[in-house]
Each structure stands twice: as C-alpha cells, then as structure tokens.
C-alpha cells in the first residue's frame, strides 16, 4: 500500500516540525528503509513539482534529513504566527542573566523570586546558560551558544553585556521615535482632514 505509506510519512513530516531522518521515520512507522525513501520521493515529487503552484509548502532535504516547511516566499508572514521556541517567561530570565552576567543566582532570586531555580535549570538544558559554583550560590553566565543563537559577534560575557546594553538603548530610542512618528502621523492626519475641505472646494 504505497499510497497509504505516502500519507503516513506525510503526516509524520508535518507533525514533527523538525527535520526527520529515514531511520527515525522507519522506527516510528515500522516501514522498511526502501519504502520510507520511496514515500519521501513521491511526496517531494508531488509537493515540489506536480503541485508546485498549488501549495505554499515544500519538502526539502536538510543535511541527511527531511523537513516539511513553508516556501521561502511565504515565510515572512508565517513566521509571525509561529510559536517562539523559548517561552516569554524563560526569555525574560535569560535576558536578565545576559544583561547582568556574571551574576549570582541568589541576586537573581531577589530580582524575580523562587522561579529563578526552575528557569535556570531549563536554560541550562537548552545550553544557553552556564552555572559555576561560587561559595553557597552559583554564578551564571551565558554559554557560547548564546551569541551564536542571537547573532552577536562576541563570546566574552562583558562584551555581550555591553553589546546588549547599547542595543537596549538603541531599542528604547527607536521605540520612542516610533511613538513620536505615530504622533506626527496623527498630527498630519489631522492636518489632512483640515486640508481636505479646501481640496474639495478647489475641485468644485
């Protein structure tokens, strides 16, 4: 039943949300490697060629694995609805660590409470934060993965901190500018409204 096997592999590639190897698909489905490869071939043929203009999705080879993803043309919009891989609470804790590093865990507890312990565990599991014993507490820094992840061109904690501080200032300034420009817009809108009767009068 090759058609049914195509469907099973399709549902797997869809639900995984990450690249899957032939072995992984084989283990989950119990299909033979040949059947898995055939199914992937059929799906790629269908998605990327036959139905190319009738779908926004594609199946591509990523390294030795395969992934179902949104075509490049459509990524910009779809990115906006996708879930971020670090949930907001955890991201806040990560940001605090990155900005205050090297920072004692006990100090962070004073800042945000008991939550810090669980958060640090999770961030360490994600290899984004490193912890070093220091007396009765732990001193936290970001790992080498951190600058890589956020595209920061430095691995030194002090430089990362500085870079982020500058960015925050820039960010705040930019936000402020946007607020101001919005106010400007509403002012100019008000102006347009004022002008429009004149324009009407002119056209009359």
């Amino acid at each position: 039943m090759s058609i049914k096997e195509d469907r099973i592999v399709e549902s797997l590639l869809f639900s995984a949300g990450k690249p899957l190897s032939v072995e992984e698909i084989q283990e989950t489905t119990g299909m033979s490697p040949k059947h898995v490869s055939d199914a992937i071939d059929h799906l790629m043929q269908s998605y990327n060629n036959e139905r190319k203009d009738e779908t926004s999705l594609e199946i591509v080879k990523a390294g030795s694995k395969f992934i179902m993803q949104v075509k490049k043309t459509f990524t910009e919009k779809s990115m906006m609805v996708a879930k971020p891989e670090i949930r907001t609470d955890l991201l806040k804790t990560l940001a605090l660590i990155a900005f205050h590093q090297p920072v004692k865990q006990s100090n962070l507890r004073h800042m945000i409470g008991e939550r810090i312990y669980g958060d640090v565990d999770q961030l360490m599991n994600m290899h984004l934060v490193h912890s070093e014993p220091h007396g009765a507490t732990e001193v936290l820094t970001t790992t080498r993965l951190f600058p890589e992840y956020f595209g920061i061109d430095s691995t030194k904690p002090e430089e990362i901190r500085e870079f982020l501080a500058k960015k925050v200032i820039g960010h705040v300034v930019k936000e402020k500018q946007q607020e101001l420009s919005k106010e400007d817009e509403s002012v100019s809108e008000a102006n347009t409204e004022e002008q429009s009767p004149q324009t009407q009068m002119k056209s009359e």
Binding site: G17, K83, P84, L96
Partner: protein, 288 residues
C-alpha cells in the same frame, strides 16, 4: 435463517407508518431486504420489537432506503409508549437512539438538499428531539453518561495531532523581554519588601500575644504533634476532622493553631470551601 412471524408483523406495522402514497410493493422489497439483513447482527437482538426497529433503521442506513419513508414522528411516539410500558434493553435502546440520530441527520441533509420545508409536519406532535436523551445520559443509572464514560477504556476526548514546531527567538524579542523583566523585577522587589515588613509586624504581634500564656511553652510541641499526624496520614489530602480526633474545644484550637503555623511554614496548604463554618481541607506539600 427464517424470519419469525413477529418480525413480519412488525414490518407490516411499519407499513402503517410509511407514507400512504407508497404502494404495497415496497413492503415486499423490505421483506426481502429484511431476509438478507436477518442473517446479520439483527438476529441477536432478542426483543422482536427492538429487532423490527433495528431492521427499520438498518434498511435506511445500510440498504439506502429513502429516510423519508420512515415517519419518525409517529414512530418515536410508538417507540416511547412501548419503552415506558415495558423494560427495554437500554443498550439496544441506546443503539437505536444513536441510529435515529443518524437517520435524523440524513433526513435533515435531505431536507437541505431539497429545500422543501416539511417543518410543519415535523413540528406537530412528538419528535425525536423530545426524547430525553440528555436526562437518560445524565441519570445516575448504569447507562448514564458518567457511568459509561468511566467504564470506557479511552476518554471521548482525543488530543488531535498538530504541528509541533517552533521558531527561533530574535534579538529584538530578547531586548523586549529584558525591558519587561526589568519592570517586573522592580515590582517584585517592591512587593517583596512590603511582604517582609508585614511578616515582621505579624511575628511581633503573635509573640506579644503569646507571652506569659501557658501556650507559649507547648506551642512547638503541639505543632510537632500535629505535623506528625499529618505526615503519617496515608493520603496527601485530608480534612480537619480527620486530624483532630478528640472533639473538645481545646483540642480543636490546638490543632487549628498548629495547622496555621504549618501553613505559614509552607509544609501544608489549607483551604476551605464553605466559609466560615465549612470543612477545612489540608494538603501536604513537598513530602511524599
């Protein structure tokens, strides 16, 4: 396999329910179908009436009989009358009601397609919608929704399989998160400060109230004794009455004060549903 007379009688009875415009030849057709269907699962339904009802629906569902050929209004009236008078196998009844739903669904689909309003006919008298399925299901009997649900190996709710995917977080999001974290941290520190002040005041008040009383010496012992009872309790949740075995005012106060202390020490969680005189529930924390 032979059809018994009861079934034929009941099929003839269905003839009476079928629209008069249909000719007699139809019933012969049904009889033929019934002969075929009789070799199927319907044979194991013992009650001839149920069997006939089953067959009637089976005809619609499996033999593609026109659903409008069964007059549900008169049929349901007859069926309910019978159900009230005699004890009917509820499993079979459930099955029939379920099938009736399907038939009703087919009828309504049919209705939508035809755009012919037969509403008036349906509105008159008794309809399937009047059958108290929800009360049947909400009852406390063996066939209630609750009992059927608890006996099912799998719950009726299934988690659908959706895409488990996430995207990377951007630097901008990290910066915004810092901005929020900074504000939240300020608020947290302020609240924490207030909480600590409150705690100190409360402790001072409690100490001065206890001073000189006989309770002062025994309080720690009492708390330890109650904690011992709670930790030896087989379940993680219990209520006040279970902990306070001796029913005297002194014992109740002793237990109650100890519980408050244990709650303060975050060893237990205390909650009450009916305020102020309802039962007090105790839940142990951080111990297994």
């Amino acid at each position: 396999m032979e059809l018994d007379n009861d079934i034929i009688n009941h099929l003839l009875f269905h003839k009476a329910l079928i629209d008069e415009n249909n000719d007699m030849s139809r019933i012969n057709q049904y009889l033929e179908m019934a002969t075929a269907a009789a070799t199927g699962e319907s044979t194991s339904i013992q009650d001839p009436f149920d069997r006939s009802v089953f067959l009637a629906f089976d005809l619609v569902l499996n033999q593609h009989m026109n659903p409008w050929d069964i007059d549900l209004v008169s049929f349901s009236t007859m069926y309910l009358k019978r159900a009230k008078k005699e004890k009917i196998d509820l499993l079979t009844a459930g099955k029939i009601i379920y099938m009736a739903w399907q038939v009703l669904r087919m009828q309504s689909d049919h209705l939508v397609v035809n755009m012919e309003t037969k509403e008036q006919e349906v509105d008159q008298g008794f309809g399937w919608e009047d059958i108290p399925t929800s009360s049947w299901l909400a009852n406390d009997d063996e066939y209630s929704y609750t009992n059927l649900l608890m006996k099912m190996p799998q719950p009726p709710l299934e988690e659908p399989l959706r895409r488990d995917s996430t995207r990377k977080v951007t630097l901008i999001e990290l910066l915004s998160a810092f901005d929020e974290a900074r504000k939240e941290s300020e608020q947290y520190q302020l609240l924490d400060h207030l909480r600590q002040e409150e705690r100190i005041i409360l402790e001072q008040k409690a100490r001065s109230a206890m001073k000189g009383s006989a309770h002062e010496d025994h309080l720690e012992e009492d708390v330890a004794a109650v904690w011992e009872k709670i930790s030896q309790f087989p379940k993680k949740t219990m209520n006040f009455t279970e902990i306070c075995e001796v029913d005297s005012a002194e014992e109740r106060i002793k237990t109650f004060v100890s519980i408050l202390f244990l709650a303060y020490e975050k060893k237990i969680m205390v909650h009450q549903q009916k305020f102020p005189y309802g039962e007090i529930f105790i839940k142990t924390l951080g111990f297994t």
